[in-house]
Each structure stands twice: as C-alpha cells, then as structure tokens.
Subunit: 182 residues, 2 copies
C-alpha cells in the first residue's frame, strides 16, 4: 500500500513541470504578472516558490529524516525565499529551472530505492513534532496541487469583471483562498 | 482594450488542452478516477464536461448571439451532458477529443474576425437576461480555470489523510468547493 502510494506520488510529481509549462509559457503577462491584491502572489511568484521548495524542502528534508530520524529537527521553511529565486529572471527561465530541479529531485528519490517500510521512518518537524517520511512525500505532491489550485484562482481573478453575470456560476471566483499560517 | 482582452482569452483557451494532457495522460487511476464524495466529479468527469461545453456552449452560443442578438434566448446548458460524452471512453480518448474540439472552436472564433466593438453585441441568457459577447468569451476562459481549480482540489483530496499534520498548511484541502447552482 505504501509502496503503491509512492509510485502515485512520483507519477504526479513527474507531471507538474510540464503542466505549468503548458499553461504558462509565453502566456501574456496580463495573466502571469497580476495577482489578487497587494502582497499576494502572481503566477511568476508561484513558480519561484516551487523552485525554492524544490531546493530547500522536499529532498533535503527527506535526507535529514533518513539520516537522523527524530533526533534532528527539520529547518523551518522560509516562505519569503521565493523572492531571491525570481530576481532578474523571466518566467520562461523559471519554468526551465523548475523542470530541471524536479528532474534532479526525482532522480534522487528513485536512487534512495525506498522500501514500503521506509515510509514509516520518522522525523521531527519544527511545528508539528513527529512526522513520517511517507507524510513528507505525500505533502510534496499535494503541495504541487495546492499551488495549481492557487494559480488557477489567481488567473481567474483577472477576469472577475469581464465575465459579467456569469461570475455567479464560476466557483473559482468564490474561492477566498486558504492561505497557510505563516 | 476589448480587442486586447480577446487575444488574452484566446491565449488561455489555446493552452488548456495541453495543460490537462500534461497533468492527466497516463496518470494512475487513483488520481483520475476518484472523486471527493458521492455525486461529485472525478478528473475523468471534468474532462468529459469540458468536451460537452465545447460542443454545446461557447461557439454555438457566440454564433446565436451574432446572428440573433437579444431576440433569441440561449438554450439552457445541460449540466448532466458530460455523462454521454464519457460512456465507453478512456481518459486518453477524452483528452484527444477535447484537444481536437478546442482547436476547431478556436479556428471558428478566429474566422469570425471579431472587431473590438463586436464584443459589446448582446444576447439573452435564460437566467441572466442580457449578456454580451465579450462576457461569453471571457467566461469561456474563466470556465477552463474554474475546472482546473476543481481538478486540483479533487486530486489533492485523495491525499487528505496521507499528508498527516501538513494538511494544516495545504490551502487546497480547506477548499469546500464552490459549485454552481443547478
């Protein structure tokens, strides 16, 4: 069961870079550079955040959990870290970078050759306390989806007025966002 | 301004089939055939719904508005129509069909060679009353995004338990859905 889920997780993680690429590459900046309100993220920021998590969160945390278990608390994740990933870069550069990093991460994950029982290995999260490797890897996939969810909402927001009365039928325009606590 | 938006709308509409294809083609059925609860849609149903709207909603309605203006009320949209689109078909077949239909729709839209002032042309919606062609076309793009938003939520739901305590940080798991009235 656990092994089965890991293959599902990898299947999803493998597809995210191409999904974002198909949606965002060369899309007009009216879609990709506009956000929902002050201090919210646009598409560009979201891809930069995915790059930052790819560098600092998933595989680095998995390796710490495998090496040190509960004895070493994971570093808190820096939610503002995306800013330095995006400075002076184009969205096309970010999409390419994310695809490259994800490919490396997945090669690293496969190289670990995890057995089903490895997914029950424990680590220590700075806020949650004990977590398992399986939970971390499932979160990696769900995190891709939460940002696809956010991205579709941010983009739809740009047409909030343009759709006129049809706004009543468009669920995405009723989504208030569900941001994480800082 | 109106003309500018039409190019943005077409840019988004052009990318949706490849986006869904990149995400869903050959993804395990644990992601694509599971829904959120009884009588809700899975990924397969969502693509079938997009096919049904492509056949019956956007360009057919645009043509009625261009030909008859407010004098002919648009047909109500059949929300259960997706069922017959999906019977006996695989997800790969649905993805291919959606891509083909969208390409045809966009060729038809371009062939209309709409001028900015055409977007203010009016039609009559069965529930809303007077609507404009520009609102219909903007809704077409926002409708793609509302279903990408739904799709990411339905898929993330499958990992609701697997992520353990990280559920607290994943906004998509807090989204209650925002379904349209029937």
């Amino acid at each position: 069961m656990a092994e089965h889920n890991l293959e599902h997780t990898i299947a999803l993680l493998t597809r995210t870079p191409a999904t974002l690429d198909a949606l965002l590459r060369d899309l007009p900046e009216a879609w990709t550079r506009r956000n929902e309100s002050e201090n919210t993220w646009n598409a560009f920021d979201i891809v930069a955040h995915l790059i930052h998590t790819e560098r600092t969160d998933w595989m680095p945390r998995a390796r710490i959990m495998l090496q040190s278990g509960e004895s070493r608390t994971l570093e808190p994740f820096d939610r503002s870290g995306y800013v330095r990933e995006s400075q002076g870069r184009t969205l096309v550069q970010l999409l390419d970078e994310f695809a490259r990093l994800r490919k490396e991460s997945l090669a690293g994950l496969r190289a670990l050759d995890l057995r089903p029982e490895d997914l029950t290995l424990r680590g220590r999260h700075p806020a949650f306390g004990v977590v398992t490797l399986g939970q971390l890897l499932a979160t990696w996939a769900a995190h891709d989806l939460t940002h696809l969810h956010q991205l579709s909402r941010v983009m739809a927001h740009q047409y909030r007025e343009a759709v006129g009365p049809w706004a009543a039928y468009l669920g995405v325009l009723k989504c208030a966002g569900h941001s994480s606590p800082a």
